[in-house]
C-alpha cells in the first residue's frame, strides 16, 4: 500500500442542483479533508444522495464549484470523477454478473500495459482489495455464482481498490449485516489513516457517530451545520435534522368509524415480509414507519398482489382474499401508489386521461369500446378536482412536475373507486403545494370511508396524518401506537435503534 500521505482536501463551494420542480441542493459548502471521516446526515429528500452524485460525476452541479487541492474541477462524468480518485459505494449494485470477481473489481481500470490485459496483475489487485476486508474469495469465479452477501463484499472491494482521494459511502450499511458493517468500519478507519477523505451517508445514527470525525447535517437541500462528532449526541443530531421551523401542513381529523376493513394475519412473502399482522379500519390512516430495508415496501407489494403470499391470509370486509396478481387486488378495490412512480406507475407515452383511466377502462367503455369523449370528460373533472396542470389533458405526463405526476396517479385510483389505498412515499421529491393537495385528498378520502396505508420516511408527515403508527422492522410490524402517542424523536429512535439491537 502507499504510504500515508494525506490527500489534498475536496471543497464544495456553494453547490446548487436543480431538478424539474425541485431544488435538490441550495448553496451547500463543505470541506472534506484527507484523513477524516465526514458523515452526511439528513432526512430522506434532504439532498444527501444528490450531493454524493455531484461529487461522483453523476449529476454535475448547476451552480457552485468543486475544488480539489486548490484547483477548480469539473466532474462531468463518473469516469472523470474516478480519474480524480473519487469512488462511490451505494446500495444499488454496479457489478456485472457474468464477469469474474477480479474483472469486476478492476472494471474500467484493468492493468493493461501496451494494450494487453495483465490478468495476473488484475487478480493480484482484486485479492489485495478483498484481503483488506479480511475476505478470501476465489477471484476467478463469476460474480453471478456468489451469494448476495459475498457480492456486497465484492462491491465494497471494488470501491476500495486503487488509489483514492475521496471515498463516498451512500447508505452502505443498509445492505450489510452487523459483522460486515463492523468490518467496513475497520476498513474506512484504515483508509482514513492512509489519508483518504471519506464521506459517509447513513440513516443509522449511532453507527455514524461511532465512526465519524465531522458531521454535516442537510435539511431541504441546505446545510444546517457542520460540527465535530465529539461535540454532539444522537439526540441533538435528530433535533437538527428535523429543525424547528416546519410549518404544519396538515390538520389531523381522527376518523370516527372503526369497522374493520383490512385484516392481515401472519403474512409471509419471499421478497421479505416475515409473518406480519395488523388491521386497518374503514376511513383510517395506518402509517408504516421504519428505516430503508425494513420491509415496508414489501408489505405494500404483498397487500397488492404484486409479490406472492407464501403463508398467512388477508381479509377484506371479513372475506378471505386470494390475490394472485395486482389485477385481483384491483378487482377487490385495493390500490397501490408505488414508491418509484417513473418506473412503476406512469405511462410516459400517454397524456393524463389515458394515465388516469388505465386501471378502470370499463368505466369509460360501452361493450369492448372506449368512449374517448367520456374518458376526456372524466379526466377533465379529476384534473380540476386535484388541481393538476391543465396542459396534462393534451400533453404527455412526461412534462409534468413530480407533484403533478403524483396527482395523476392518485387520480387513477380515485377513478377506480379504491377501498384500500396504499401510498408508498407519496410525497417524496414533490413540492410543498402538491404535498398539501395530497394531504387534503387523503383527508377527503378517509372521510368517505377509504382506508389508507401510508408509508413515509418523512416521520413528521407520518405522525401527523396517521391515526395509528406501525413500526416495521425486519419485515413485520413490531409495534403499533395511536396518533399522538409517539413523538418524532421516539419514532426515529424506535425505527433506527431497534434495528441495531436486533442486528447485534
Amino acid at each position: 500500500m502507499t504510504t500515508s500521505t494525506v490527500h489534498a482536501p475536496w471543497e464544495l463551494r456553494d453547490i446548487s442542483k436543480y431538478f424539474p420542480g425541485v431544488r435538490a441542493l441550495r448553496g451547500v459548502s463543505l470541506s472534506l479533508r484527507g484523513g477524516r471521516i465526514h458523515a452526511l446526515l439528513g432526512q430522506n429528500g434532504s439532498g444527501k444522495t444528490t450531493l454524493a452524485k455531484c461529487l461522483a460525476g453523476v449529476h454535475p452541479p448547476d451552480d457552485g464549484e468543486l475544488v480539489h487541492g486548490g484547483e477548480v474541477v469539473h466532474l462531468r462524468s463518473p469516469a472523470a470523477a474516478a480519474e480524480r480518485g473519487v469512488a462511490i459505494f451505494h446500495q444499488e449494485f454496479s457489478l456485472v454478473p457474468p464477469l469474474s470477481v477480479a474483472e469486476n473489481i478492476c472494471l474500467g481500470r484493468m492493468p493493461s500495459p501496451r494494450g494487453v490485459v495483465d490478468w495476473e496483475g488484475a487478480r493480484r489487485q482484486a485479492r489485495d482489495a478483498l484481503s483488506r476486508l479480511g475476505v478470501s474469495l476465489d477471484v476467478t469465479r463469476p460474480v453471478s455464482s456468489l451469494s448476495v452477501a459475498e457480492q456486497q463484499l465484492v462491491e465494497i472491494a471494488k470501491a476500495l481498490s486503487g488509489e483514492k482521494t475521496l471515498l463516498i459511502l451512500d447508505e452502505p450499511a443498509a445492505a450489510l449485516g452487523p459483522v460486515e458493517t463492523e468490518r467496513l468500519h475497520d476498513v474506512i478507519r484504515a483508509l482514513r489513516s492512509e489519508g483518504t477523505a471519506i464521506l459517509y451517508i447513513s440513516h443509522r445514527l449511532d453507527d455514524v457517530l461511532d465512526v465519524a470525525d465531522d458531521i454535516s447535517i442537510l435539511k431541504d437541500g441546505r446545510l444546517v451545520r457542520t460540527i465535530e462528532a465529539g461535540d454532539t449526541s444522537v439526540r441533538e443530531v435528530i433535533r437538527m435534522m428535523i429543525g424547528s421551523d416546519i410549518e404544519k401542513h396538515f390538520e389531523h381529523h381522527p376518523s370516527g368509524a372503526r369497522d374493520e376493513r383490512l385484516r392481515v394475519e401472519e403474512v409471509w412473502t419471499d421478497a421479505g415480509v416475515k409473518g406480519t399482522s395488523f388491521t386497518v379500519a374503514r376511513g383510517e390512516v395506518l402509517g408504516l414507519g421504519g428505516v430503508i430495508g425494513s420491509g415496508r415496501t414489501e408489505i405494500a407489494r404483498a397487500l397488492f398482489g404484486a409479490d406472492r403470499i407464501t403463508r398467512g391470509t388477508l381479509w377484506i370486509d371479513g372475506r378471505e382474499l386470494r390475490l394472485r396478481s395486482p389485477r385481483d387486488a384491483i378487482a377487490e378495490g385495493i390500490a397501490l401508489i408505488p414508491e418509484d412512480r417513473k418506473t412503476d406507475a406512469l405511462f410516459f407515452n400517454f397524456p393524463a386521461p389515458a394515465n388516469i383511466t388505465v386501471a378502470n377502462l370499463d368505466a369509460v367503455s360501452s361493450g369492448p369500446f372506449l368512449s374517448l369523449t367520456r374518458e376526456r370528460d372524466q379526466a377533465r373533472r379529476l384534473i380540476g378536482e386535484l388541481k393538476i396542470d391543465a396542459r396534462a389533458l393534451e400533453q404527455t405526463v412526461r412534462f409534468l412536475s413530480g407533484g403533478n405526476q403524483q396527482k395523476v396517479i392518485l387520480a387513477r385510483w380515485l377513478f377506480s373507486d379504491a377501498k384500500v389505498l396504499i401510498l408508498d412515499e407519496p410525497t417524496q421529491g414533490i413540492d410543498i403545494s402538491s404535498k398539501a393537495d395530497i394531504y387534503r385528498l387523503i383527508d377527503e378520502l378517509t372521510a368517505r370511508g377509504v382506508s389508507v396505508v401510508l408509508i413515509s420516511s418523512d416521520y413528521r408527515e407520518l405522525l401527523e396524518i396517521s391515526d395509528r403508527i406501525a413500526v416495521v422492522q425486519g419485515g413485520r410490524v413490531n409495534h403499533i401506537a395511536s396518533h399522538g402517542e409517539l413523538s418524532e424523536h421516539e419514532l426515529i429512535e424506535m425505527a433506527a435503534v431497534d434495528i441495531a439491537s436486533e442486528a447485534s
Binding site: 404484486a306 405511462f347 407515452n349 400517454f350 397524456p351 372506449l370 404527455t396 412534462f399
Partner: protein
Amino acid sequence: MKNVARSVAGSAVTGPLIVMLLVASVVALTTDRFLVSQNLTNVSLQVAVVAIVAIGATMVILTAQIDLSSGSLAALSSVLLAGLIKKAGVDEPIAFLLIIGMGAGLGFVNGFFSSYGRIPSFIFTLGTLAIFRGLSFLYTGGTPIFSISPQLTQVFYGKFLGLPLPLIYVVVLYALAWAYLRYARGGRHMYAVGGNPSAARLSGIGVNRVRTKAFVLAGALSALGGILLTARLNSGSPNYGQGLELMAIASAVIGGTSLLGGVGSVVATLIGALMIVIVQNALNLHAVASAWQQIALGTIIGVAVGIDMWRSELAKGAQWLWKRTLGRGREDVGGAASGEDSDRAPTAERSQRIDETVKP
C-alpha cells in the same frame, strides 16, 4: 426553422406523409411511367401483402416485442394452402380459414414463448423464422406447387365496385386495426404494455396476455399475406416471403412506430409501406438491378431508425443552428427534452409523438 425543428420531433402521421409525398413527387418527376394508371394499380397490388403483414408487425412492436418469422410463416401458409386445395381437395374458403387459423396458432407459439416463456422475442422468432421456412421446404420437397386452382387467382385479381380486391383488403383491415388500437380496450392495453410494462402490470393489465395477443394477430395476418402471394401466381412456393418480415418491420419503423414500444400508429405504417413500395417501383422503372434495390431498402431502414433514435438530437441540432444563424439574440428555445438525464431523452421524444397518436 423553429417549426422545422418541431416537426422533426413532431407528429406521427404528418411527418411520414410529407416524406412519402416528396418521394412520390421526385419519382413522378424523374419518370413519366410512374403516374400511369396501370403502374399505380401495380403499386397497389405490390403494397397489399407488405401492408397487411405490417399491421401485425406494428402491433407486436407496439408491445415492445418483435416478430421476425412473418415472411417464413407466409411461405408455410402458401405451401400448405396449395396442398390443402390441390392435394386434399378442400374447398377454397375452408382452406383459407384453416390456414389463417394455423397462422394464428403459430403466432400463439411465438407469443407464448416470448412472453410467458421469457425467451426474448428477437431470438425466439429468429428461431421460428428458420423453422417455418424449413417446414415449407420439407413439405414441398423444395419445388413449388403450380396451377393450384383456376378460381384461386380471383382472390387476388378480382374486383369489387371496380376496385382491385387487394386494395379493399388493405382498406378494410387498416380501418379495423386503426379502430381497434384507438377505441378498443385491447388496443389501449397494447400501448400501455409497450409504454411501461411494470406500470401496466401494477394497473391490472395481463402483460403476457396482451403480448401474446399481438403475436396471434400478427400470425393470422402473415398467413393472410401468404394466401395472397399464393393467389397472385396460382402457385405455392417455399421461397415466398423472403425478406417480407424486413419490409413489414421497416414499414412500421419508417411510419414512426418506436422499437422501444408504446408509440406508433397503423396509419403511419401504411404510409411507410407505400414509401417502400414506391421506392422499389421507381428503381424498377429506372431499371436498377435488384441487388441495388436491396441495398436501397437497407439504407432507408437505417436512416428511418436513425431518425427515430436521434429525434431529440436532431431537434437540438436544428435549434442550435437556428440560434447560431437566423435567431441571433432571440430567446433560448431549449426543448423539454433537454432534461437532466440524457438517458431519459428517448422517453421525452417518444412522448412528444404520442400526443399525436393516441390522443384520446
